[in-house]
Symmetry: C2
Subunit: 320 residues, 2 copies
């Protein structure tokens, strides 16, 4: 261990990924100074990844760097906010050059794509963990919230939930994992552009699926004091997941965490706009149910029969 804390910052984390003019003072002082436009609200979200809990210990450093930012950008996506700045707290058992280089490459590849500037943070020694806070900008009154769901709205999901959980289960069982599924686990694509466009299209309630579709849909329903029917045969299934036994695949789709897709509700009159938007962004968006006034989630098969979900969403303090 020959690197000091200052060496680490200097060598790996001083890239000006976006060279944003709204960064008045970046890394290197007691605090960063940032200029929020007068006509924007600031959206902030913070997520921590702990080794062995949020990613398998063998995960590549690049993927950890990517994912630590991606899961946070996903929160901004779920608000419809435009990403601006990030801070990073990195706790490392040791300062390993190759690991740090890989981590920084993964982090900054995603940061550059969304013009996110790293403006500060902390580097400490300890068990491997990464905390990122992202800062986004959104017009007053335009942010997507969890609380906008109303009976009669349609329920949608982006992408193909369940892939990440399927990949993780296979990894944990020592099975071969299809590269496409592994990609979904290790390099989630935050739906930033879609979230921003959805906020502009009058999206109602939105959440990102980090804890599992049923669990996160439950948060929307709780916030809106309503319920939903979910058509489980219509849940979009990736080709990777299609090769998995049906009941297991359904389990991943309903309970699997770590997908970072968006689940949202929308007034039926806006379905046309949504279709245009999805086509423009080349993103699969699937109608999976309907919001109802009766509380609770009713999972239905296409033949009309009720399906009773088993299990629960991911909870860091309930899952052993």
């Amino acid at each position: 261990m020959s690197l000091s804390e200052f060496d680490i910052i200097e060598r790996y984390f001083s890239r000006r990924a976006a060279a944003r003019a709204d960064v008045v003072l970046g890394i290197g002082d007691d605090a960063a100074l940032l200029q929020v436009p007068a006509d924007r609200q600031l959206a902030v979200a913070m997520d921590t990844l702990v080794a062995g809990r949020h990613f398998p210990p063998q995960t590549a450093a690049f993927d950890i760097g990517w994912k630590a930012l991606a899961v946070n950008l996903s929160d901004l996506a779920a608000m419809g906010a435009s990403p601006a700045w990030a801070t990073l707290s990195l706790t490392l058992p040791e300062a390993d050059d190759a690991w740090l280089a890989g981590f920084a490459d993964g982090f900054f590849e995603l940061a550059e794509r969304y013009r996110v500037e790293l403006v500060g943070g902390d580097t400490t020694r300890g068990p491997l963990a990464v905390t990122v806070q992202v800062h986004g900008l959104v017009e007053p009154g335009r942010a997507l919230r969890r609380s906008g769901a109303r009976a009669g709205q349609q329920l949608f999901v982006t992408g193909t939930p369940g892939d990440a959980a399927c990949a993780l289960q296979a990894l944990q069982s020592g099975d071969t994992v299809a590269p496409a599924l592994l990609q979904r686990l290790n390099r989630p694509e935050p739906r930033v552009d879609f979230g921003m466009a959805l906020a502009g299209t009058g999206g109602a309630a939105a959440i990102d699926i980090s804890d599992g579709l049923l669990a996160d849909l439950g948060h929307i329903l709780d916030a809106g004091q309503c319920g939903a029917t979910l058509w489980i045969d219509r849940l979009p299934r990736s080709s990777g997941l299609a090769s998995v036994q049906d009941e297991a695949a359904l389990g991943c789709q309903l309970y699997g965490g770590d997908d970072y897709e968006l689940c949202f509700s929308l007034d039926p009159g806006r379905a046309g706009q949504l279709e245009v938007l999805a086509r423009q962004q080349q993103l699969a968006v699937t109608r999976i149910g309907v919001i109802e006034s009766q509380p609770g989630i009713r999972c239905r098969r296409d033949d009309g029969s009720l399906y009773t979900p088993q299990g629960a969403g991911f909870d860091h303090f309930r899952v052993p």
Copy 2:
């Protein structure tokens, strides 16, 4: 472990410590929404405390909660920014009710004092660690930076640096620790009001002493491309430190981290204003040296002799 992540947030972290009108949307959505006034810049700082590294394992939960916020508020103090909001990532080996209640009490006692609202964060399971990000507000052009030091300015420090390191050394040696010193280690008082007033008084360069006086003064001098003479016999010594053998006390004063006092430079013409300010705030502020154009730090005794410092400031990756 019967508490879920949601129970923990609901039970311990939903206090609206400050009921600030600028919190558009607080805890409970994918991101918080905040309103930064048009005539203010946003100052952000993030610090992580890892158990066994930044605080002894036996530290009371109240003190950990207090300190996690205090070390961050100290960064805002060093910028002269007014605290506004905080986010908190708490990584816990288990969800223990008594521990959580104590931690939250410590965190919110300080939050209420400075009208800081907790607006979001994350709760995960893993080795005990706490990351806090604070958000402050400062008038454009008024923030204190590290880079303002110029030859001829006088050098000052608040409070009595060295106390925290002295307490830590005693704890680690199994010695009895004077309560006043222990208080300085476990419940540091961020110099928030003083930092804000100093920014208004035309303070030049400022930094908070978290890594030790010599190390942090070094950052000011590097940023200003200048040097300093430090009068080591004039370093303020608390009554707790006065009972320690002289050379050991001096070591704590020069190299000891965790003090969260402010070290700053000021044009000599502003000494009168500073005196008034210190008296108003009932805070000890001591002139300890002078900024010079010649790089490096020259430690001098009152008899004019040079003192050669041994050792280095605290570095998380260099200190074993």
